[in-house]
């Protein structure tokens, strides 16, 4: 295969990064179905507390947002990312991959089966409050939305580098709460509702 020319980079105009596009309405269900269970990987069960992580996505006017794609990326029960950048990755749980997908139904409801993440450790020793990363893609969004889910019954570390950037008043919206109505099959449920726009809007990060 011929090599494409390397993009010229200048002070003012670096390489043009390919323009992001909307996922549109027709992302195949086959790409999502069965991808929302993170508690098993290649025949092994994940270690740690298995949970349901679920909620609704709504847009302005509290209208349910159906047909969105949600992607989750998180560390395992010990807070280890299955990735070579994590200094502890050799000890990552072989039964936990860390990535999953779910979609919202017509009522805006989504559900992941996953593991309560542990506190991750930055290479400089900073301990991060237990969290999972969430990406939202939908019609109407020409770029993805990224946010972070924390868990209300888990200990907060001092000065989490991401949480501290969020205005105090908006921080509670980044916490999933234990919700008995979501518990099923013996697993506890955590509710994380997303407001794309409007009153109670979920904080999203620069991407």
């Amino acid at each position: 295969m011929s090599r494409a020319p390397v993009q010229t980079r200048t002070e003012t105009r670096p390489a043009i990064v390919s323009p992001y596009g909307t996922i549109g309405p027709f992302f195949p269900f086959a790409f999502v179905d069965d991808a929302n269970d993170l508690t098993e990987f290649e025949g092994r069960k994940a270690m740690g507390q298995h949970i349901w992580l679920a909620g609704t996505v709504v847009e302005e006017g509290n209208v349910p947002t159906g047909n969105t794609l949600l992607e989750l990326w998180q560390p395992d029960t010990n807070g280890i990312f299955r990735h070579p950048l994590d200094p502890r990755h050799a000890d990552a749980d072989p039964g936990f991959f860390g990535f999953g997908r779910a979609r919202t139904d017509r009522q805006g409801f989504y559900r992941f089966r996953t593991v309560l993440p542990g506190q991750s450790r930055e290479p400089d020793g900073t301990i991060r409050t237990a969290h999972a990363n969430l990406t939202i893609l939908a019609i109407g969004l020409t770029r993805r939305l990224v946010t972070t889910i924390f868990f209300s019954d888990q200990p907060e570390t001092a000065d989490d580098p991401v949480l501290r950037c969020v205005p105090q008043s908006a921080r509670p919206r980044l916490f999933a709460r234990k919700d008995n109505a979501l518990a099923a099959s013996g697993l506890p449920g955590y509710r994380f509702d997303v407001v794309l726009r409007g009153a109670g809007e979920t904080p999203f990060f620069v991407d």
Binding site: A4, Q7, V63, N67, R82, L85, H131, P161
Partner: protein
């Protein structure tokens, strides 16, 4: 804004700048349904990148299995889907021009009549029994990829057909981390519908807009096959740390 994240304990950390809005699709496009009820009203919050964002799924094909990259028929040698047979080839690099090997690509597209296999597609057009139009494959060691398919048809949006989308193929790409997870759609040059498409023209910069167009290669006429060939390279966000930026 530059995002710094490096320590001696983590060599190989990459640098990700926020997407440059000048090269991207507008966040809100006039008349584009739902962009004014879904795009957050509050400003996006700046935060440092931690391991959580700088890592991402590796060997994603172990979770999202790949298949063969010939979408022009259901089984090799089987009946071909209706429509113009075509091939796409290209290369995925980062902002340094370094190839992204083993990147997972997902594509999905309408059939030649502009119909998707999807529960929510209400377009009154037939499905093609020989066409699925969705699948996954990986880039090679040079970041190269290729697939065969048939050219998709345009399709109407909304119940009163007020907007016809020009033919396009959707791409979803898993790069090296959570930061270069990428989704877009690629258009065909010369399509009259391109001129009025809200999404294509939602990229204000003409040079950037070219980056979501297939580039036609000269048509090859061989003894057996008249092949329509296209090329599309992608530059995903991210670069190796370079001294002048440290």
């Amino acid at each position: 804004m530059l995002i710094h994240f490096e320590t001696e304990a983590s060599p190989g950390v990459r640098q990700y700048l926020p997407y440059d809005d000048r090269t991207q699709t507008l966040r809100q496009i006039k008349d584009y349904p739902r962009s004014f009820t879904r795009v957050p009203a509050q400003p996006l919050i700046d935060r440092p990148l931690t391991l959580s964002e700088l890592t991402g799924p590796t060997e994603i094909e172990r979770r999202l299995p790949t298949g063969n990259a010939d979408f022009s028929c259901l089984v090799p040698g089987g009946p071909r889907a209706l429509g113009q047979f075509m091939t796409v080839a290209g290369r995925i690099t980062d902002e340094d021009g370094a190839p992204l090997a083993g990147a997972l690509i997902e594509i999905w597209q309408a059939n030649a009549s502009g119909k998707y296999i999807h529960e929510y597609d209400s377009h009154q057009a037939p499905l093609d029994p020989n066409f699925i139009g969705q699948g996954r494959f990986l880039t090679d060691a040079e970041g190269g990829y290729q697939f065969r398919t048939i050219k998709p048809g345009g399709y109407p949006v909304g119940s009163n057909d007020w907007w016809w989308r020009p033919p396009h193929i959707h791409f979803s790409i898993f790069g090296m981390s959570w930061m270069d997870r990428f989704i877009t759609q690629i258009f065909f040059p010369g399509e009259p519908l391109n001129e009025a498409d809200l999404l294509l023209n939602g990229i204000p910069d003409p040079e950037a807009r070219q980056r979501v167009m297939f580039e036609p290669l000269p048509t090859k006429v061989t003894k057996t096959l008249n092949i329509l060939e296209f090329r599309r390279d992608f530059v995903l966000r991210g670069k190796s740390k370079t001294p002048e930026l440290l």
